[in-house]
């Protein structure tokens, strides 16, 4: 490992005190003179057409200032999701908004509105929509064909051929790829297994529901919002409102979680912005928890089928995978496509065919949710691999090791290559920490009504993008200011990745400040804080801009003090002659000289290749110090993936179906560790999120009425304190990725699938291989399986 000063050290995040003391201002903590509140009239049914709305009585209610209808807001053809609609496609979709002096008045006004809705046919389960004569979620059709929505129905014979209630019908897919010789793969297999797959949709439910407050000044929109990104969310808001980027000032210093649901500008920002424009007053919209269940996005559930071929040594010779994605009503979700790639990478099958169809449903809109596609496929396939391993008689660790990818692996739709891969190391180290060889002997051991089970899951996920910009300023106060356009989601990566710039400049971290969370503070073009991009993307961008700043300092010193730039080094807050750290210029002096010289030293001349947003920001900062801006042009010639291997032991009570998690051990390959403490929190948090998805988190939508019945957190059941052990073990392989200057890769996504998959495998192990095969594995399902071997209802039911 390279010798770093800051990289690899544990740091507390710099916003810690503000958060703990409650001084941190989240979107809903802001107030502006004359501010109004808004409440929404939402659709009570899953698909309908508004015949008429009469809001005259609402407008007469004292305190009501304005009503905003779908007729006044931007509308485009489906799949565009309008902020207000006259054809709601899911229960809870906003139809109209009321602005009033307070929320109670706005809510009372909603109750005075007469809305006449024509109910339309709706689809909740994608299979129902694919049946001949089945309902379409939209008037345009029911499936995505590339980017278009078209109608697709499977013939009745397809459904008839699946003659058991649990058997997945396999009709036509409209997106597929294949590599190797699948037929030969199965022909060469010693053991073939074939199963129906399913996993459920779940809401993101960050702790902070989405809030936005908007006002307009001199044609510019000021937006306080809870978003995962600053640079990217601002662009999303501008696009949705038809504004120039510079006309949107986005303030989002703190975000109480998003998990992918707060990436780009959304309907919840557009509504207050438009109402603020209409009323000429600031408008705040707070989304309640119940509304969050509808508006707050969800993970696409899947129904599917897989056939796997194995040799006697556990090697997977063939994988045939078919996934029907419950896409929700709007934009095309990438989950199932990603599932194909993740499956290909996790098991590197010698041959593989992937087929998918993305079916629209009248259920809450979907968005990427932490490990999109990865969590679903890992949680569906890992238990199946376990069942196969039992049949072949191969140890379940061994079957993963023998199929695990390595640095030479090519995989997936595009035969992608990897920048690095230490999946096997993660599995082996995890097995050692967990003591797999001993614990796996306890499989199925019964003590009274309690039975032990152990499980493993390997979860690969995309770990970073590249090509973004960095922007730093050394000011005459002698400090290094590192500007970040990513969000501050609570993962610490907003701060931790800034250290790459400080590392290059050998700067004292106490002398550095990270500038973030407010576009009026001049931020660079940054990745959204999603998809585990930030760690990789912005260590690169900040490394590059650190080098740019270093180059400027060396050049400046040579001009000021003589010699050539290469005679100088940067450390201890100075640019100095190599080997003479007390000489040269302090950062404060260098900043002053840079301003005096102007041109490329103080931001008046900028590199050609930086993004316009970075250019605007750097130009605004010009003359304030030594200004360096740079685009990350470092090589990125393959795909960056991280891997988490999680091991779980459970004790299942076969008389009640309840279970206790005894131990959770995870090991990650996420490159060089940036901040050990933050990393452990992030990885264990993801594992817990996955455990929650596997054991209790759920949707419940009534099949007849299409209405959500689990709108409160209490009913949605994310994991609670006692559902996981007090201590979780985590370690990182800590081997550098060669295509990142500090060796790092992202870690946000992969732990979730690892936690979910390992738990499902462990529970199934305790049940001797019998599986509920329906997530979440709640006590009712486990007990039904123990008692009768079946759930008593079809596994192909969704939103149960």
């Amino acid at each position: 490992m390279a010798d770093f000063n800051l990289i690899g050290q544990s740091f507390g995040p710099q916003d810690l005190v503000a958060k703990i003391t409650g001084r941190a201002k989240y979107a809903e903590d802001f107030r502006a003179e004359g501010m109004l509140f808004t409440k929404l009239l939402v659709s009570p049914m899953p698909h309908a057409r508004v015949r008429s709305i009469d809001y005259s009585e609402a407008l007469r209610l004292p305190g009501v200032v304005a009503v905003l209808t779908a007729d006044e807001v931007p509308q485009e053809d489906h799949p565009f999701e309008p902020c207000l609609t006259n054809e709601p496609l899911y229960e809870g979709e906003p139809i109209l908004a009321v602005a009033a002096v307070d929320e109670t008045t706005a809510a009372d006004a909603i109750e005075l509105i007469r809305v006449d809705l024509e109910p339309l046919p709706f689809a909740l389960n994608p299979l129902d929509s694919l049946r001949p004569g089945g309902p379409n979620a939209t008037l345009m059709g029911n499936v995505y064909q590339e980017r278009e929505v078209v109608e697709l129905k499977w013939p009745q014979e397809v459904f008839d051929a699946a003659n058991e209630p649990d058997q997945m019908p396999l009709g036509e897919a409209n997106d597929e790829w294949e590599y190797g010789d699948l037929e030969a793969g199965f022909a060469n297999a010693d053991y073939i297994m074939e199963e129906t797959l399913c996993c459920q949709s779940v809401t993101h439910h960050p702790m902070e529901p989405r809030t936005a407050m908007a006002y307009w000044q001199n044609g510019k929109l000021y937006m306080h919002s809870s978003v995962q990104s600053v640079a990217q969310s601002r662009r999303g808001i501008a696009d949705r409102l038809g504004l120039e980027l510079d006309d949107v000032i986005l303030i989002s210093e703190y975000c109480g979680g998003g998990f992918g649901s707060k990436i780009r500008g959304s309907v919840t920002e557009v509504i207050p912005a438009l109402l603020a424009r209409k009323t000429g007053r600031p408008v705040m919209m707070r989304i309640t928890r119940a509304e969050e269940t509808a508006i707050g996005r969800g993970r696409p559930g899947m129904l599917g089928w897989a056939r796997m071929g194995f040799r006697n040594d556990g090697r997977m010779t063939a994988l045939d995978l078919f996934l029907v994605q419950d896409n929700g009503p709007y934009s095309r979700q990438g989950d199932s496509g990603t599932s194909g790639d993740v499956a290909a990478l996790a098991y590197t099958p010698e041959s593989m065919r992937f087929r998918t169809v993305r079916v629209l449903t009248n259920t809450p809109p979907r968005a990427a949710q932490r490990g999109p596609g990865g969590v679903q496929i890992v949680s569906m396939l890992e238990p199946m691999v376990d069942r196969a391993a039992r049949q072949i008689g191969v140890d379940r660790l061994q079957v993963r090791l023998v199929n695990a990818p390595n640095a030479e692996t090519q995989f997936g739709r595009g035969s992608y290559e990897l920048t690095s891969c230490f999946a096997g190391e993660a599995l082996s180290r995890g097995a050692e920490l967990f003591n797999w060889s001993e614990r796996s002997q306890r499989s199925g051991q019964r003590n009274g009504s309690k039975v032990r089970g152990v499980g493993i899951a390997l979860s690969p996920y995309y770990g970073g993008t590249s090509g973004w910009d960095g922007l730093v300023v050394i000011r005459p106060d002698g400090k290094l200011y590192i500007h970040q356009g990513v969000g501050n989601l609570g993962t610490h990566s907003c701060i931790d990745t800034a250290k790459a710039a400080a590392e290059v400049l050998n700067a004292d971290w106490a002398n550095c400040e990270v500038v973030f969370g407010n576009t009026s503070r001049h931020l660079p073009h940054s990745s959204s804080q999603s998809g585990s991009q930030t760690t990789h993307a912005h260590t690169r961008a900040n490394w590059v801009v650190g080098q740019a700043a270093k180059g400027l300092l060396q050049e400046l010193a040579a001009l000021e003090l003589g010699g050539s730039p290469s005679d100088y080094d940067v450390s201890g807050g100075r640019v100095h002659r190599i080997g003479a750290p007390g000489t040269g210029l302090t950062f404060a002096q260098a900043a002053e000289r840079a301003i005096a010289r102007g041109g490329k030293f103080d931001g008046h001349e900028l590199p050609e290749d930086i993004n316009d947003m970075t250019r605007t920001s750097a130009t605004a900062l010009a003359g304030q110090g030594l200004v360096a801006a740079a685009k990350d042009n470092l090589p990125h010639t393959a795909r960056t993936y991280s891997f988490v291997a999680t091991f779980i032991e459970v004790e299942v009570d076969v008389e009640t179906g309840a279970f206790e998690i005894i131990d959770v051990t995870s090991v990650a390959d996420c490159g060089t560790v940036l901040n050990p403490r933050s990393l452990a929190a992030q990885a264990n948090g993801g594992v817990i999120q996955g455990i929650g998805i596997a054991r209790s988190f759920k949707w419940a939508i009534d099949p007849t009425w299409g209405v959500h019945l689990s709108k409160r957190i209490e009913a949605t059941k994310p994991p609670a304190m006692l559902d996981v052990p007090t201590t979780l073990t985590f370690e990182a392989v800590d081997l550098p990725d060669p295509q990142n200057p500090v060796g790092s890769k992202g870690i946000g996504e992969p732990p979730v699938g690892a936690g979910a998959g390992a738990l499902l495998c462990a529970v199934e192990d305790a049940l001797g291989g019998l599986a509920p095969s329906h997530q979440p594995v709640t006590p009712d399902k486990i007990l039904s399986i123990v008692e009768s071997g079946s759930l008593g209802w079809s596994r192909l039911e969704t939103h149960v």
Binding site: T104, E111, T656, G657, A658, W705, K711, A720, D780, L783
Partner: protein, 333 residues
């Protein structure tokens, strides 16, 4: 008119300092009045605008309702005593541990600090159709949305259903019935004591109420006699999560055992019917029998006789059977 949820409407708040004052306010405001204890059930109803009121009568200021008093014959627990205190009170822990145990299984520490014993036993059912404000039998309508060929009724009743299939969600109620507790109810006509087992009512008695309480009534105390003091107790709750969850099924029992033979017992199961069910047939069947696997297994079988599961709650039959078995045998086989 359009409907909006999850937003508290305005109403008048009254904070009486004695029970008589509370009763007077309840009578004055009639059907528009609602009693507030810890609010853990009430706030949901009000925020969702599924139940509308004009006056909220907050009992929190009535000191006598917040006390636990030892009596010559046991212990009186004020209806407003927080569950945390029930869980930790030394006399309850020592003599009536099944109650302390059941209280400890309610929700979360925060909710137990705020939620009260009176509120926990008087709370409304969790049927999500009913709580969503749908016009079902229990809400005064003439349909049950939870009992159709497609309904989501995993949490619903397997016994005692009558049009409505909702269940009692309380964790402490089965324990109180097992202890032969009395519920002290006051109204303008005076005070009366009701056996805990009779405090709860099924849809056959009144489909719109879970307890005998009518408007104008205030539950003031829960009186625990020493009948079962230091008996052999058992409480178990099975839920989707280890905290912050309602029971799928729970069980509370009290046994008097001499020389390994059951002399007398109380076996009560919650969340299988609209009211917690005291299992008289089981109690009769195990009287005079030894505490062993055979007795326990037989008890479990008797317990579930007549159970009629719905579409998604068939698991409740074995779960109730096994919990009754464990209530007699203990958890270890």
């Amino acid at each position: 008119m359009a409907v909006i949820h999850d937003m508290m409407p305005a109403y008048e708040l009254f904070q009486p300092t004695d029970v008589e004052g509370a009763i007077a306010l309840l009578n004055e405001h009639g059907d528009g009045a609602r009693v507030l204890a810890g609010g853990m059930d009430t706030w949901d109803w009000l925020k969702d605008r599924a139940k509308r009121i004009t006056a909220l009568i907050d009992l929190a200021g009535i000191e006598e309702l917040r006390e636990i008093r030892a009596t010559p014959d046991g212990v009186d627990i004020g209806a407003l005593v927080p569950l945390t205190q029930v869980e930790r009170h030394s006399q309850i822990v020592q003599n009536y541990s099944v109650l302390a145990d059941s209280a400890r299984h309610v929700a979360t520490p925060q909710i137990r600090n705020q939620g009260t014993l009176g509120g926990n036993v008087s709370q409304d059912t969790r049927c999500s159709y009913y709580r969503s404000g749908w016009p079902c039998y229990r809400a005064g309508g003439n349909v049950c949305y939870a009992n159709t060929p497609t309904s989501l009724n995993r949490e619903h009743a397997i016994l005692g259903a009558d049009r409505c299939v909702a269940v009692s969600p309380s964790d402490t109620a089965p324990a109180l019935i097992a202890l032969d507790a009395k519920m002290v109810v006051q109204n303008r006509r005076g005070e009366r004591e009701i056996d805990a087992a009779n405090y709860f009512i099924g849809p056959g008695t009144d489909i719109e109420r879970m307890t005998v309480l009518k408007n104008g009534d205030v539950l003031t105390a829960i009186r625990i006699p020493n009948t079962w003091s230091n008996a052999q107790f058992y409480f178990e709750k099975v839920a989707d999560r280890k905290s912050w969850d309602f029971p799928l099924v729970n069980v509370a029992s009290a046994l008097r055992v001499e020389n390994g033979v059951i002399q007398d017992s109380r076996i009560v199961v919650g969340a299988v019917a609209a009211k917690p069910l005291r299992l008289f047939r089981v109690e009769e069947a195990i009287a005079g029998r030894p505490v062993n696997e055979e007795t326990a297994a037989a008890a479990g079988e008797i317990a579930v006789r007549g159970a009629e599961p719905l579409r998604l709650n068939g698991y409740k039959v074995p779960l109730m059977r096994n919990l009754v078995k464990r209530a007699i045998r203990g958890q270890e086989a």
